[in-house]
């Protein structure tokens, strides 16, 4: 494939996929260690009602209202889950199940009630995204990377996802120490003055921001897969948090690249003509990486913590 074709057709979706994967995998490390992995699942389900409500309020499909709607829905979901868990004294898994399925059902109902035939807004889009369509038409080759005019024609998702990834990286870097301490030992963290409740909320918010920015470009499936699979696979590679996070980023990038390439070219190699869903393929690849780590990772089993010695 020529540079021209690659830059205009594949470079941007590939980068967006990588940025989204990394942005989700970073907070995913802490969510998995805190046994809150399914918060990502819950958040990505409630994105749909969020964007539908935003559409109903503004009457248009514009990025920022939809992002705000999705973020609002994510916050609402987190608050509802906490309230149901505490007020009803229900275990967290069930509380999550009650809240996100209900909100998702509400989103589907609203969607059916609204005339969205003129706009591109449907359940499938929220689930799979449209990574393949995020191409850079103005690019004529590698040289376009230095051409301001061509750069102006970049799909808006690219800078947005890049910014999101930077925010997530900054968050993880700045709050690394308290995040690590409170994830390991919440009670102790409180006694040295870390505000653990606030920190936990900020972590979930960061996950929500990553999820909302990513779903728009790549759909909910990647979001859930990237929250969980790369960190889970990374946990089986090392026993140190710093290295685990590094592994998870590497796995996220590897899933995004291999998934995108396989989705686009795999069918051609097999003699078929059309590409398959890149989002689905990226999720599948992250699963394959996880399976390999689970089979061969050096730290795949518990070290046998002698609980009560």
């Amino acid at each position: 494939m020529s540079g021209e074709e690659f830059v205009s057709l594949s470079l941007t979706p590939l980068l967006i996929g990588i940025f989204a994967a990394v942005a989700c995998a970073l907070p995913g490390n802490f969510l998995v260690l805190r046994k809150q992995a399914l918060i990502g699942d819950a958040i990505s389900h409630v994105v749909l009602p969020g964007i539908v409500v935003a559409f109903l309020l503004t009457g248009m499909i514009a990025t920022w209202p939809m992002m705000l709607g999705a973020a609002g829905a994510a916050i609402l979901a987190v608050i509802l889950i906490e309230s149901v868990r505490r007020l009803g004294r229900i275990e967290p898994g069930a509380a999550m199940g009650v809240v996100f399925t209900t909100m998702f059902a509400g989103g589907v109902l609203l969607l059916e009630q609204t005339d969205t035939s003129t706009v591109h807004l449907d359940v499938e889009h929220a689930l799979y995204g449209n990574l393949e369509s995020l191409i850079w038409l103005d690019a004529t080759g590698w040289a376009s990377l230095l051409d301001p005019q061509a750069l102006a024609g970049l799909p808006a998702e690219l800078p947005r996802m890049a910014l999101t990834m930077c925010v997530v990286i900054l968050f993880t870097w700045a709050l690394w120490r308290p995040l690590k301490i409170s994830t390991f030992d919440e009670g102790y963290a409180r006694t040295i003055g870390i505000r653990t409740n606030l920190l936990g909320l900020m972590l979930v918010m960061m996950a929500a921001i990553a999820a909302v920015a990513a779903f728009d470009a790549v759909g909910s499936i990647i979001v859930i897969a990237m929250f969980i699979c790369p960190p889970a696979a990374a946990r089986m590679m090392t026993n140190r948090l710093e290295r685990q996070v590094a592994w998870s980023v590497a796995f996220a990038v590897a899933s995004a690249v291999s998934g995108y390439v396989l989705a686009g070219y795999g069918p051609l190699w097999l003699g078929a003509q059309d590409a398959v869903s890149a989002a689905g393929m990226i999720a599948t690849m992250s699963g394959i990486i996880l399976a390999l780590a689970a089979l061969f990772g050096p730290c795949r089993t518990r070290t046998g913590a002698p609980g009560q010695a």
Partner: protein, 401 residues
């Protein structure tokens, strides 16, 4: 319109859907209860998402064999097989690796679902009946449901229900206390797997009506709702089943009564309405009852502490304590106890002293366990016993009232 729908007079299809949804809700509510009591509610999320690749593969196989591809039974068998594979993978991840169950659930659901989406796009390009309508399995689609489909759902639901009833005792034992169950020689791992198998059956049966994303709601919400109303596990099962069945029936009827009301989401929302009412208003575990109880309890604690402090001439710092004492006319505005306050304080102190003796006395061991700082001693000891204790305390008698 709604009345007609509720009395099943909206035509053939609506009636089929309503009956199917009721049976589905019933079996989902009953089956989900065991899952919920086992604290593994979200396993259903992994199972349901893992059905998608199976549906797609079954479709492709049936087309490859020259069939039409949309045969419901064929698709359901495919979905069951892939859900089973997903379940085994999840079990393997939690047992053989260091991953916790929540991470395993998330991994299985996203990867299987992602793979399913890949297969969906493959089917779209196969050029057979274009979309093949498989998207319907995501959210359910009851439009154009056939008699045969309804029969599959009815039989599937009934069979699941019968199986649940058959193995409910061992499942309940395992859900309540897996270690005890194992000690009694029950094959816990196999029972767990059977429980998951039943969840899978419900999921598969529900694909057509509510779809794979929302079936999770029917497995989780009714049991959680039921838990608010009773402390007995057999009743949770019963109420869970009733709540599910009723939600299925009302939801299906509501959705038939007006256009643009998709069956699956409506059933889920009706189910949630039951949940919300229970959460707020259930007599013991409900929020309202709990808030009232907590406020009353806190007042009792402060009152008691305040009286003890008064009796011993200590300064009271807690504003709430002072306010409560003042409102009861036990202290004056400047914090000095009234006569009534003095009397009540003396009684509280004497009771506390009595408790102190009771708790130090082996003869009163059972009574001592009841001590919570608040209980009136007259409610646990007889007059004679109290007099006996008072003799040991010494000092003036007759403050029993």
């Amino acid at each position: 319109m709604l009345w007609e729908a509720l009395t099943l007079q909206l035509g053939y299809n609506a009636t089929l859907v309503a009956i199917g949804a009721t049976l589905l809700g019933l079996s989902a509510g009953v089956t989900g209860t065991f899952l919920f009591l086992r604290k593994r509610a979200l396993v259903s999320d992994a199972i349901s998402h893992a059905t998608l690749p199976g549906v797609c593969i079954a479709f492709m196989v049936m087309v490859a064999l020259g069939g039409e591809g949309r045969n419901l039974i064929g698709l359901l068998i495919g979905s069951a097989l892939s859900a089973w594979v997903g379940l085994l993978c999840m079990n393997w991840l939690t047992r053989r690796t260091r991953l916790a169950e929540d991470a395993a659930i998330g991994a299985i659901l996203s990867v299987f679902f992602g793979f399913g989406v890949v297969l969906l796009t493959v089917i779209q390009t196969m050029g057979v009946g274009r979309q093949a309508g498989l998207e319907g399995f995501l959210l359910g689609s009851t439009a154009g449901m056939l008699w045969a489909d309804a029969m599959v759902i009815a039989f599937g639901g009934a069979a699941t229900l019968a199986l649940v009833m058959l193995i409910r005792r061992p499942m309940m034992l395992v859900a309540f206390d897996p270690e005890y169950a194992a000690a009694r020689g029950l094959p816990v791992a196999r029972i767990d797997l059977a429980m998951m198998g039943l969840v899978m059956a419900v999921t598969v049966v529900g694909l057509k009506i509510v779809g794979l994303i929302l079936i999770v709601a029917l497995l989780i919400i009714p049991p959680v709702t039921a838990r608010f109303w009773t402390e007995r596990s057999d009743r949770v099962v019963l109420i869970g089943g009733l709540a599910g069945g009723l939600a299925g029936y009302l939801g299906a009827a509501l959705s038939a009564s007006a256009p643009n009301l998709p069956t699956g989401p409506i059933i889920v929302l009706v189910s949630f309405a039951f949940f919300a009412v229970s959460l707020l208003l259930a007599p013991v575990r409900g929020v309202l009852a709990a808030v009232l109880r907590h406020a009353r309890f806190q007042r009792r604690v402060h009152m008691r502490q305040g009286l003890l402090a008064l009796a011993q001439g200590q300064t009271i710092y807690e504003p709430l304590t002072l306010r409560l004492l003042r409102r009861a006319g036990l202290v004056r505005a400047d914090g000095v106890p009234t006569d009534k306050g003095k009397a009540r304080a003396a009684k509280a102190l004497r009771d506390e002293k009595r408790w102190e003796l009771v708790r130090a006395d082996q003869a009163h061991e059972a009574t001592a366990a009841l001590y919570d700082g608040l209980r009136d001693i007259e409610t646990v000891l007889t007059r004679d016993q109290i007099e006996e204790i008072d003799r040991r305390i010494g000092g003036p008698q007759g403050v029993t009232a």
